[in-house]
């Protein structure tokens, strides 16, 4: 691992305007979520719409604000392992107990 690589891992972060842009997108998505929760569009569409927006917000924060998009892939692998393990273990529990039926 060279010094240049260390430096690039530590400091290759976005400009401030990019953070503000991401925050505005997060705000708009949150407002859209709240609006959708009041809309009469059918329960299935409403639920999948809300979950889709939740995942987009989750990814925006993790990739930009937590810098996984710009940092070493090693951090991303550690966190992805935790998220995947959580989804697998608890997904299996919820399916087993028929929560999604």
């Amino acid at each position: 691992m060279s010094e240049e690589q260390h430096e690039s891992q530590s400091h290759a972060h976005p400009e401030q305007w990019e953070y503000i842009k991401i925050a505005l997108i997060l705000g708009v998505l949150t407002a859209a979520e709240v609006a959708l929760s009041y809309m009469d569009v059918g329960r299935t569409i409403q639920i999948f719409g809300l979950l889709a927006m939740m995942i987009i917000k989750f990814m925006l924060v993790v990739l930009w604000f937590m810098h996984l998009k710009f940092d070493s892939p090693g951090y991303g692998k550690a966190f992805t392992f935790g998220v995947a393990l959580t989804a697998t273990v608890y997904g299996a529990v919820l399916i087993t107990f028929g929560v999604f039926q």
Partner: protein, 208 residues
């Protein structure tokens, strides 16, 4: 090679064999383990959803507009947190302190809002022992509120250490680590807000 890199970056930190700083790797592993904690709490809430035999029920007491404001406040605090990190990396201590204290203040607003919400729910008859909804809801959101409170203490500590000169442009890894923790509590709230508040009876009606 690694020692020279440490000096080059100006950080008093250690690196793993991968070249990644040990504290940052440890923080990411800690956050990965926290996913399991909150995954367990959210799953428990979902498992017992709709199983309460006495009220109040979620639809009776949730105030979505009020909780939406709390969600916006926590999202805004994530923005001020990255602006604080950006400021310290540029060596702008004044803006760092402004942004980090703004982040702490927004965190306090969120926790204050949660305390008010809990008090309101209690006055409306929902305690932690009232029914399964109360037990799982207060445990989940209480754990999240405790995490936010710990984060506020860490933010205030960073501002204090910056004043002492112990956190600055050259030694900013601690700001990055606290930032990661703060953003994590934000993403946990993103999930809680959608799954618990906005789609309260989703799992049992999915596909219908």
């Amino acid at each position: 090679m690694e020692a020279s890199a440490e000096h080059a970056s100006g950080h008093d930190e250690h690196y793993t064999s991968t070249g990644l700083p040990t504290p940052k790797v440890a923080m990411w592993i800690f956050l990965a383990s926290e996913c399991l904690l909150f995954g367990g709490l959210i799953s428990t809430y979902l498992l017992y959803r709709g199983a309460s035999v006495v009220g109040p029920y979620p639809a009776d007491i949730f105030d979505i507009p009020y909780t939406s404001v709390s969600a916006f406040v926590l999202l805004a605090s994530s923005l001020t947190m990255v602006l604080a990190l950006s400021a310290i990396q540029r060596g702008d201590n004044l803006r760092f302190r402004i942004w980090i204290l703004t982040t702490a203040m927004l965190g306090m607003v969120f926790v204050g809002g949660q305390i008010y919400e809990f008090t309101t729910f209690y006055n409306e008859g929902l305690g932690i022992n009232t029914n399964l909804f109360g037990s799982t809801f207060f445990t989940l959101t209480g754990f999240h509120g405790a995490h936010v409170t710990v984060g506020i203490l860490m933010l205030l500590t960073l501002a204090w250490m910056n004043g002492l000169g112990k956190v600055d442009q050259k030694n900013n890894l601690s700001v990055e680590l606290v930032g990661l923790y703060w953003h994590f509590v934000d993403i946990v709230w993103i999930v809680i807000f959608t799954v618990i508040y906005l789609i309260p009876d989703a799992p049992r009606t999915l596909g219908q």
